[in-house]
């Protein structure tokens, strides 16, 4: 379980809080999507869960973050990383090794995963992320998207209880993005992994995440089930969050016809809703 209690963080030298008085509980096994305009504090929030804020980032830290009961401020980053795996937004600086295989081995070796488990975990991560063919390639020879997949695979192989991803599909094409999100769903449902993902692609979040948190100027503006959050389209657009067209459609449909129309998160649901209204 992740508990944030009145968390406020201000980067050293900044003139406003990156996160302001955030209180949030993420239960075990949750799949939470975090969305918000640029500069809303999404990455800072992701880093706070992984303990990178305040351990590796300087600034004023108030409040408390507890992960599985451990206070992140009092726990070594190394010990926290056994529970929380973080995929950084900047892929380049996350990759340590020169070869894909070594990159996956790095964490596995360090955390003392038994030898007989290592091969199986590596194969699983490589295959699920869709880069089995790249295993022996050098990092320098990979494209940006391929590197991003390597970074994700290296964390997936570690199988942390909590996986935090900061814009994991930033450099990926639509089909690879979907692949990553369906992998996250598998990890979430079958392995009970808690998944927290910061993402700009709202369509993906709406389809795969169970809950959404909308961040703006360091505060949580909305928090709830995906449909619940999408119920207030006007409010979201005012913040600067682009809503899926299906949700905009269903809201408009309700408005124009005066009938109650459920929030639609994909095209099929929108078609169904339209059919029902037309009768």
């Amino acid at each position: 379980m992740i508990e944030l209690q009145s968390l406020t963080f201000r980067y050293a030298g900044a003139d406003r809080d990156a996160l302001h008085d955030i209180t949030l509980t993420i239960p075990d096994g949750a799949f939470l999507g975090i969305i918000g305009p640029a500069g809303a504090g999404k990455s800072t929030l992701a880093h706070a869960i992984g303990g990178i804020v305040p351990h590796a980032v300087h600034g004023d830290f108030y409040g408390a973050v507890r992960v599985n009961g451990l206070d992140t401020a009092d726990t070594r980053l190394t010990d926290l990383s056994r529970i929380v795996g973080t995929v950084f937004q900047d892929v380049e600086s996350q990759i340590i090794s020169s070869v894909v295989e070594d990159e996956l081995l790095y964490g596995l070796e360090n955390f003392g995963v038994p030898r007989e488990e290592i091969e199986e975990r590596m194969t699983f991560a490589l295959e699920e992320v869709g880069i089995a063919a790249l295993r022996n390639r050098t990092i320098a020879s990979l494209s940006g998207g391929q590197r991003q997949k390597v970074a994700i695979a290296s964390l997936v192989a570690l199988r942390p209880k909590i996986l935090v991803l900061d814009e994991p599909t930033g450099e990926l094409d639509p089909s690879s993005s979907r692949q990553i999100f369906s992998l996250l769903r598998t990890l979430n449902r079958e392995y009970g992994m808690t998944v927290v993902v910061v993402e700009q692609k709202i369509m993906l979040l709406c389809e795969f995440a169970e809950r959404l948190a909308v961040l703006n100027e360091g505060r949580i503006e909305r928090l709830g089930e995906v449909r619940e959050v999408l119920g207030d389209i006007a409010g979201l657009e005012a913040i600067g969050v682009n809503c899926p067209r299906s949700a905009r459609f269903s809201s408009l449909l309700g408005e124009k016809t005066g009938q109650p129309v459920p929030v639609c998160v994909n095209a099929d649901e929108a078609v169904e809703a339209a059919r029902r209204v037309i009768g």
Partner: protein, 249 residues
């Protein structure tokens, strides 16, 4: 430079050899080259280097390194011949001792440089580092420094290329033929390059830490580096090279 130190995959005995043995063999060739004054021994060592290149399936690379070094060597040879005046004069200011010393210096340079470049074509840097930690008990932090440095060479090049492209797009003439003008233009690149590298170093350190950098011990490595018959042969060859260099006058 990028290509020079790049690993070339293969399955030759040299590829399969324990990285530590490869380091030993490399060092032995260097030591032998420094111990001997005999030109024939040096010549033999040079041929030995090239043969290793052939055995590693990297013949073309070995010869291209050799060719590159040869130009430098030629320059060095002429310089030595002109500077050394001891011995019997053969013609003009050239003496026999000058020629012999120059030849020895140049041969030694070739003999020493070749295997140092070759070892990186047949060994992954990570394997060298891991084997050093596992077998030679080198502290992991030092090995990590080595691998990270090598890992960031292509990264650095990429970034440099990116900055140059963006400057070219804004009218800086990097394609100028004037070397001094070009040098002057490269200078302002240092600051952005330095800043981005320092920032990146910090981020990479964090990335290493969150994946258990501090927990790594000598036993952590997944790959094991055993010693086989190839290694035994290489150790014997190494010993023979050094003994030969000492015994042959």
């Amino acid at each position: 430079m990028n290509g020079l130190f790049q690993y070339v995959p293969g399955n030759s005995p040299l590829h399969r050899m324990n990285p530590v043995t490869k380091i030993l063999l490399t060092l032995s060739v260097c030591i032998a080259a420094f111990l001997t004054d005999n030109l024939f021994v040096l010549l033999f060592l040079l041929v030995f280097d090239l043969m290793i290149g052939v055995a590693a399936g990297a013949a073309r690379k070995a010869f291209s390194i050799f060719k590159g070094l040869f130009k430098v060597s030629l320059f060095l040879f002429v310089l030595q011949v002109l500077f050394i005046r001891r011995g019997n004069r053969l013609f003009w200011i050239v003496t026999d001792e000058g020629l012999l010393t120059a030849a020895a210096v140049v041969l030694r340079l070739l003999v020493v440089c070749l295997p140092l470049a070759l070892i990186l074509t047949v060994t992954q840097v990570s394997d060298i580092a891991n084997a050093m930690v596992q077998v030679l008990h080198v502290p992991y932090a030092y090995a990590f420094t080595l691998t990270t440095a090598i890992r960031f060479i292509p990264q650095f090049m990429e970034e440099m290329g990116g900055i140059m492209e963006s400057q070219t797009a804004r009218g800086v003439e990097f394609d100028s033929k004037n070397v001094f003008k070009k040098l002057g233009m490269l200078f302002p690149l240092c600051a952005p390059l330095l800043i981005s590298s320092v920032r990146r170093t910090g981020a990479t350190a964090t990335a290493a830490e969150v994946r258990g950098f501090n927990l790594r011990t000598r036993e952590s490595g997944y790959k094991r580096y055993g010693f086989g018959l190839v290694d035994l042969a290489a150790v014997l060859i190494s010993a023979a090279l050094i003994v030969g260099a000492v015994l042959i006058p």
